[in-house]
Symmetry: C2
């Protein structure tokens, strides 16, 4: 059996406008890359070759370590592994950096075990890893990072993860403004109570989005990509947000909203060409405020985390 | 051009567990039946041949009259019509009695006009009729009564009505307990604010239901037929509700909840056989409390309101 594997684990967009805490999609780029190697002694050892020096190497404080150990404990495995992080999505970007790490670790180690679990069964372990990084256990980044595609987390208790149908031609433009916005802070601004009438609008939109994705109905997708609950509050934390969003829509994007808890902003588009135009136009709006940006253009990743050699 | 037509307009189940105010489905039976006839003078004249003598004959106070006049005004038509209600779903049953009337009137008169509008354009007029009867304008009964099938009202402003895909084999059991429960009262018990965490569960379920219907995934449909917001409050108005629901589930129903604002209870089932078993079992529970019931078993009506001769 092979003893060293390289893993690519994708960035993800959680929430996707109207799907707060229940919807996510996987990107083809960027992603985390790790090398996993069996070692002679038990336990997890982590090496960091990325420029992000704040990543803790102690496996009990590290996203990958916590997720990996949860899996090993559950399976009663005592084997040890060396995990080297060679490439990392920038932490705090809002495109599932910690979920990608947790998924890379759990998936890679699972591959090296004598009786690997199916991918679907790994979601719960990856969630534990993400919890270390962002304070609460969510599945709307880890599930699409694992499974690829557009993923619905119908329920958390019990965990129920559903792969949705979607049009193959969809492209995503991601603009990551170089500002700091912590997941905990983005959660703090949310109210614990909302108006029933707003909730009705939101569940109309999520139902419309799922129907539109299943029917390849771009206009229905566009009409449904509206978040009346979370975006109005969180967008206040992103300078120039409203202009950025309008710029994407004017270029033909189906919709534009905050990726996860931000600060990245995504635009869902019918084609690569529209995604490129939307991205440039969104970048221009941020640059008016002298905010630097990083851009990613990607098709939806249908495979999820994978072995790259 | 024909001058007299008979119309059948179906009963409907609104909300369908997790889809409060946005989801409805049409039944093959029961339904309203009306005869519509051109008359020489302008204006709407209503005749009631049903046993329900409280139905107002003044067209400005009658569901059919208000809906029909709204359509005629919009189109600038001055023709007059005689409308005879020959059969009526029992008012106050929770299966869209007033929506069926409004839809029958609007659809029938539209058919007799020189340039009839498409069915989709009639929803707004039927909504006005229903408003007279129940105090607020909703589309989750009138839209499925008009269009048939499983219908999503994604948005009310602007009105956006979507036909959902669903498995053809579905059957509905309706049990109407003979107790009085007014729509206004059923609305009064609802809170105007809800917890965000409950809303997240609800939109997970509605997304799961739409995905399950599109995929013909009965188990996903079953898991998604859960209402954590409205049912816990409204069910308190229906004696024995929890036992009735459990009886349906034990007989193999995919799910069971309150039809519209009640008091009718519906069970969504994979086959006619299961629907029959669920219905008997639900009736037994009500009879333990000495509550009489009326039962309807129906496939989902895919056509909606129609001319019957």
């Amino acid at each position: 059996m092979e003893k060293t594997i390289r893993i690519f684990s994708p960035a993800t967009v959680a929430n996707v406008a109207c799907g707060f805490d229940i919807l996510g999609l996987a990107l083809e780029n960027p992603g985390d890359e790790v090398i996993i190697k069996r070692k002679a002694s038990s336990g997890i050892t982590i090496f960091n070759e990325t420029p992000y020096k704040k990543i803790p190497l102690n496996p009990d404080a590290n996203t990958i370590g916590v997720a990996a150990n949860a899996l090993l404990r559950k399976l009663g495995e005592t084997e040890g592994f060396e995990i080297t992080i060679t490439h990392k999505i920038k932490p705090g970007s809002g495109i599932g950096s910690s979920a990608a790490s947790a998924v890379a670790g759990v998936f890679g180690i699972n591959q090296l075990l004598p009786n690997p679990l199916p991918k679907e069964d790994l979601v719960e372990f990856a969630m534990l890893g993400e919890k270390v990084a962002c304070g609460s256990a969510h599945a709307d980044n880890v599930a699409p990072a694992l499974l690829g595609g557009f993923v619905l987390v119908r329920s958390y208790d019990p965990l129920d993860v559903i792969r949705l149908s979607f049009p193959e031609s969809l492209f995503i433009a991601i603009i990551h403004p170089q500002i700091e916005l912590k997941t905990e802070d983005a959660r703090k601004v949310l109210r614990t109570n909302i108006q029933l009438k707003d909730a009705v609008k939101q569940w109309g939109n999520i139902a419309g989005l799922v129907a539109g994705l299943a029917k390849n109905d771009y206009q229905l997708i566009a009409r449904s990509l509206e978040d009346v609950i979370i975006e109005p509050v969180r967008s206040l934390l992103i300078p120039g947000y409203e202009n950025v969003k309008q710029a994407a829509i004017q270029q033909g994007a189906l919709g534009c909203s905050i990726s996860g808890s931000g600060p990245s902003v995504f635009a869902l588009c019918e084609s690569q060409e529209i995604a490129e135009r939307a991205a440039s136009s969104m970048q221009k709006e941020f640059s008016k405020l002298e905010i630097d940006t990083v851009k990613y253009i990607s098709r939806i990743n249908t495979e999820g985390v994978k072995i790259t050699d």
